[in-house]
Symmetry: C2
Subunit: 116 residues, 2 copies
Amino acid sequence: MGDSPVDINKNLDPLLFKALSEPNRIAILKQLVECCKPCSVTELNECCPIDISVVSRHLAVLRDAGIVEAKKKGKEVYYSICHLELVETLRSIADAIETCCSNDQSASNSSGCKTG
Amino acid sequence: MGDSPVDINKNLDPLLFKALSEPNRIAILKQLVECCKPCSVTELNECCPIDISVVSRHLAVLRDAGIVEAKKKGKEVYYSICHLELVETLRSIADAIETCCSNDQSASNSSGCKTG
DNA sequence: ATTATAATTGCATAGTGACGCAATCGTGCA
DNA sequence: TGCACGATTGCGTCACTATGCAATTATAAT
């Protein structure tokens, strides 16, 4: 229970999407995806024309959402994307929606889609 | 060009995530996913304790993001989830992230991940 | 110890979004 | 045509969020 492969409630989390709903955060994320290596705040600041303090705050939002992780190295903090977890989460959501919605009405709820 | 399977820029759209970043919109979406049939605004209003005008507005946001579609039938408007498109979009994003991030630095950009 | 650099945090401000109520629009029915 | 019902839109309010600047913290180098 609660661990079904189609647990919509577990994965459809507004917090995750809220973190991804800001254009500058998406720009930062794209930068991280394309670099495929940890980047410092200063490096990530190059992709968006905002104050570095704002970049730092955006990274904190992404970190709190579990989208990126931070590793301190000397004076700098290197952020990297949690790509394995992120990819799995996105696929889980897709699977859950697909499983639920591929039922026609007659099959109703045999696949375990239900509100908590 | 621009149609590569790993086109991050096409799929990582803040508009989509913004539409999914509001708890009541997620509640509405869950309702639609679990019902797996078109629902009227009044029906969808049952899942969240807000004014029906707000539900209507939320549905408009979801519609503008391509997440749901509306079909008028008499006095009522029936909303249904665009599950095929949504599932494909989510999987495209997952694929793009996975493809980009599974490159180690030496392989760099042979897979076509690049900013527009 | 002092200085320099990277990152974060405090604070004030401006912009955005959710919300409820009331008014309006669209459709069906008597 | 007039009425009822479902949905949408206008508008004012409240809360939240993004932003920039300044101050602070943390680490490295002189």
